[in-house]
């Protein structure tokens, strides 16, 4: 019994101090600054780029192949938040490329847009976007998304879900209530939430 408890305690820090690494993509200078601040306040590590192309470069996807010289552990991205309307590659096209990649398709992608167009929202969700946020994005939106991702990350793999049950009280974000009334929640996959 004691040995199992020791093992459990050893693994605990790995889950509870985990910081989400978010890759934010937006061609607007102003929006990049705001999303970066929102994410930092939500205790995330943030990398911000100004285009879909740069996002793919950062991920190492630009050549279409896995770049083996990249240290995936240090760069590991847990969430991608992208603007929809960008010159060159749109957020939708970026979303598609990520979901088509065998390496990166598991990374949740959230799309942000100033335009509340149902067909746009639908196609993003259908293409695999985790959520669609209306701009200007609020702190409550970001906190809700990051809390959700933190929960999701903890649930992948059998071992982790066991730890999750016992370490509930160590992670404050698990008790966050999702508000069903905010406009952006209406646009998200309710079943997942």
């Amino acid at each position: 019994m004691a040995a199992a408890a020791d093992l459990f305690i050893q693994r605990l820090p790995e889950v509870s101090v985990r910081e989400l690494h978010v890759l934010a993509v937006d061609d607007s200078h102003v929006d990049r600054k705001v999303i970066e601040r929102l994410l930092k306040i939500s205790s995330c590590k943030v990398t911000v780029v100004d285009s879909g192309t740069r996002a793919l470069q950062y991920l190492g996807l630009d050549g279409g192949e896995k770049n083996s010289s990249i240290d995936f552990d240090s760069m590991k991205v847990n969430l991608i938040m992208t603007d929809y309307s960008m010159p060159g590659m749109t957020g939708f096209e970026l979303l598609k490329k990520i979901k088509e990649s065998s390496i990166f398709r598991e990374i949740p992608v959230v799309v942000m847009s100033s335009e509340n167009i149902l067909t746009r929202i639908d196609s993003c969700l259908e293409e695999g976007a985790e959520e669609f946020l209306l701009k200007p994005v609020k702190l409550s939106d970001v906190k809700r998304v990051t809390d959700f991702i933190m929960r999701g990350e903890g649930m992948k793999g059998g071992k982790r879900s066991q730890k999750r049950r016992r370490s509930d009280d160590c992670i404050p974000s698990l008790t966050t209530e999702l508000s069903p009334l905010s406009p952006s929640t209406l646009a998200s996959k309710k079943s997942k939430l």
Partner: protein, 151 residues
């Protein structure tokens, strides 16, 4: 003027900007993101917005001066401007952009030109008002006071 008077002036000025629609709730949201770890956040964002404004207004002017006018191009600039004005809470600017986009869609050159003029006016007014706001903040801080945020 002492700190209390300055703070009152600042509160009144902020309230007026909200009341007259120069700013909306998004600006208050940005103020909430400012703290000791990022003490100049709002000013920095606003400065970026000013830079954006000047660049985009210039681009719109140039695009409307082309013969023939490429309304899609004009709309692209207006769309960008609408986005960044929404992000900083510049409500009046954002609303003019919305009207402007409609004129782009209907390819109404006269309407577009009018909107551009309105945008330049609104931007100018907003810039003056915000610069006054920031000056008041500086004076308060120099006098050792704290900045009251918009309620």
């Amino acid at each position: 003027m002492d700190v209390l008077q300055l703070q009152r002036k600042l509160r009144e000025h902020q309230a007026a900007m909200l009341r007259e629609g120069f700013l909306d709730d998004q600006f208050s949201q940005l103020q909430k993101l400012q703290d000791e770890s990022s003490p100049d956040f709002v000013i920095e964002v606003v400065k970026m917005f000013f830079d954006d404004s000047e660049k985009l207004l210039h681009n719109m002017t140039r695009a409307l001066g082309q013969v023939p006018v490429d309304f899609k191009q004009v709309d692209a600039h207006v769309h960008q401007y609408k986005g960044s004005s929404a992000s900083v809470g510049a409500a009046r600017v954002k609303n003019v952009c919305a009207t402007f986009r409609n004129f782009c869609e209907t390819q109404n050159l006269e309407g577009c030109v009018r909107c551009l003029q309105q945008l330049q006016q609104e931007y100018s007014l907003l810039k003056n008002n915000l610069q006054y706001l920031f000056r008041l903040q500086e004076e308060i801080q120099a006098a050792g006071g704290s900045i009251p945020t918009i309620e």
